[in-house]
């Protein structure tokens, strides 16, 4: 592994893990050259990569700072279910159903590619709109990338919300499909088995690190996903 990649990974790790929170001023280039005993070009290559992925912002004479995650956007809207429910004028409630830390199985690693023997946090929770279940959430979090998640109970704060505050993400992929509710989903969402549901499967990256994989199941009529597109030029 080349040196600038190692530096990039180290920096990413510090940011994604939260050791360097949003707003934190990361070491100057000349400090990093000392720390890694290399030339400034090498350090620069790594830091510029972080800039491109949006994890940091640089200001001359001032330094390089960890980006502050954005407040609101079409993307965020579908990230923070609490805000979504409240935007609909309903009371929001969150409930943790299960929380386990496990070594990633092959099935897990298909959803969230981590190294063999990587440790994942598995969460299952429900979001309510008023008194009715609004959304079922099944989430995997890569603890290698976000070790702080291990010390968070997620009994009060929803994992999506927590991650948004914690981790400045740089890319996400959504897969959206319709399917009938499984018996388990039907029970948890208090709907009949086979009721049409919208399923959103989302992977989120921070630079090159896989952060989390989440499966959101919405009873068909409770949710509409809106996305704006512009043509690829």
């Amino acid at each position: 592994m080349s040196l600038h990649k190692r530096i990039l990974q180290d920096l990413e790790g510090n940011i994604v893990s939260g050791r360097w929170p949003p707003g934190y001023r990361i070491p100057f280039e000349h400090e990093l050259t000392e720390q890694y005993q290399c030339s400034r070009m090498t350090v620069n290559k790594a830091v510029m990569q972080l800039v491109r992925s949006g994890l940091v912002q640089r200001r001359r004479k001032s330094g390089t700072y960890v980006s502050i995650p954005k407040g609101q956007s079409a993307v965020l809207e579908i990230q923070d279910i609490g805000l979504e429910v409240e935007a609909l004028g309903q009371a929001y409630r969150y409930e943790l159903l299960a929380r386990t830390e496990v070594k990633a199985t092959d099935d897990d690693r298909q959803m969230l590619p981590v190294g063999k023997g990587g440790v994942l946090l598995k969460l299952q929770c429900r979001h309510f709109s008023g008194s009715r279940p609004f959304c079922l959430e099944e989430r995997l979090i890569n603890l290698a990338a976000v070790p702080e998640a291990s010390s968070e109970s997620f009994s009060v704060v929803a994992p999506g919300h927590w991650l948004l505050k914690q981790v400045p993400w740089s890319a996400a992929e959504n897969k959206i499909r319709a399917t009938g509710a499984s018996s388990k989903a039907a029970r948890l969402l208090e709907i009949r088995e086979g009721t049409p549901c919208l399923i959103i499967e989302r992977r989120t990256w921070s630079a090159e690190n896989h952060i989390t994989h989440v499966l959101l199941t919405y009873p068909g009529d409770s949710h509409e996903l809106v996305a704006e597109f512009a043509p690829a030029r």
Copy 2:
């Protein structure tokens, strides 16, 4: 403007314009250093940027080659159903079910805001994957914005495909939801009533003009919508 950016622009220009077609071997780094009278690092910075953006591929000892263009972007994929079906390795067939020109009713104008008395082209069609119905399409086209549509029968060419060729669109809004198939949709898609379906409702603009409104109904398991997102910084 910095030198490596100018080099990058020149290279991009040669590629995008087609002067350097896909597969073309672009000049070696040492040739570019001569051409631009600069060091290899500077040239390298520009070329590596091209690699990141996917425009070129590099092979040691061989050279740097212009990439063959990606078949489909995520956006285009959901615009042209014919290409989508063929990408799945199935035979594609298109069928026009109904075609009428009407004055916009109030209901119509809710879907596609046009002036009072505006004339719309209403189309209903089916897309097949092999012998099975793949997608049901119900479309409104604003004839004030696209008068050419009036002289197109749409009996052979699907309206989505025709519009893509005809109109340079600038923005689109997708609303996505899951629902059970209506009796009419079930009959046309040859599925049971109530089968979970993915519904995509799309409005498309060209500059400020509303071009078209389309409702696409996919049998739940036949379709998955993929969207890439990046946070708004």
